[in-house]
Symmetry: C2
Subunit: 239 residues, 2 copies
């Protein structure tokens, strides 16, 4: 996949977010209504790579906005050791662009077996992850051809924010979310020069660290992952 495909997927983000905010809102409201009725006080999230960074964002989002404790699952407890923990009182969520990863499917499947409500967040309707979940949020981002996730990562963040907002039934946050596609479009237009300078510094760095705290700890992880995937620079995230 060429650089121009990656750039065009990056450029699609405002449109993807606008479509998600418009078309997925009714299903997300319905899911949140069901989850509220189930009396959940804890969330277990299984994810890998960029999706795991979206899960890290959810730790802060669900923690501060919904007062839910969020656990990032350790899938090998479910697959390698075959001794899954009890997830009493938890909503079990799988986040995966493709919805294919067998270890994430195993976590969500075990959640269902234990009687927990389960949720898949994926770009691929009908993928294996959706088959084991009670509820699915489909990202509607269109096919992502680059290995480096861009439009599906920001769509995952938006889906999590929509779900958090629907759980809290908070109208103000809903209005703020509606403006995100416009902010993303502005950032894509404005950022070119600063980005080229930053990329030049990164290219010659050899290795480095990227700092982020709280909500942006996830951003630090995602920047570090992108630096490794795309620029082969060993960048490490720190809080």
């Amino acid at each position: 996949v060429s650089d121009s495909v990656l750039l065009s997927e990056i450029a699609e983000q405002p449109g993807v977010l606008e479509r998600l905010l418009r078309d997925a809102a009714p299903e997300i409201e319905a899911i949140a209504s069901d989850i509220r009725a189930r009396g959940v006080h804890h969330v277990v999230i299984a994810a890998r790579g960029s999706s795991d960074n979206a899960a890290r964002y959810a730790q802060y989002l669900f923690g501060s906005h919904n007062r839910l404790t969020v656990t990032l699952a350790t899938p090998s407890l479910f697959t390698l050791y075959r001794t899954p923990p009890m997830m009493t009182g938890a909503l079990v969520v799988g986040i995966s662009q493709s919805g294919e990863s067998p270890d994430l499917v195993a976590v969500v499947e075990e959640g269902r077996r234990q009687g927990c409500p389960t949720l898949a967040i994926t770009n691929v309707a009908g993928s294996p992850l959706t088959a084991v979940a009670d509820h699915t949020i489909v990202l509607r981002a269109g096919q992502e051809r680059s290995i480096a996730a861009t439009k599906t990562y920001t769509a995952q963040l938006a889906a999590l924010a929509m779900f958090s907002t629907a759980l809290a039934q908070n109208k103000e946050w809903r209005q703020e979310l509606a403006r995100v596609p416009e902010f993303v479009a502005d950032a894509l237009r404005a950022g070119d020069e600063a980005i080229v300078i930053a990329a030049g510094a990164l290219k010659n760095a050899g290795h480095g660290v990227v700092l982020g705290r709280g909500f942006n700890f996830a951003t630090a992880f995602e920047i570090a992952l992108k630096a490794k995937e795309l620029a082969c620079v060993a960048v490490e995230p720190y809080s």
Copy 2:
């Protein structure tokens, strides 16, 4: 602190572990008995640095041996954002060599405020962390003068294993644990030549990765931290 202090602290490990296994057993049995009576199904652990790697070990240990879901706390939710999540049904644990870190104290204090059972694991009896916890396991490792934690890290792992074993009331595991000081002494005697070769490779590596899965994912994190702290080599842990 000189290298010889670090080496002598490394050499103390079999003795520290033997003392912990002998002297702390009654208090750990009593704590486990209380926690069992509280009907805990979830554990939230707050820790930093090497102690956070001990917490990572606890994720696999409590998950597979006690079927408990383990969450690594995000202290900034408690301090920076002041919107702590509800930790319903959780045992809240703080792990800290010194017991001083204010953000870890804030997590355990909030757990107590919410009515959760709370536990401090620390090397310093009477430290601030112990003041906000219902129960304390004191590591009895003696003063650790090196910044790089060695004997207190392995003592934390042993304390967690003793606690897990006491929770499960498993006699077989207790017998296995009793042999650990001997295994550690053997490893310290046998390892010299292989360690010198590995250290030479690390010294000239510039940067690298260390692989570990499941229980040894924590070990991979701890090796990476030590490579950074002591050899200034940017090593990253991977599952």
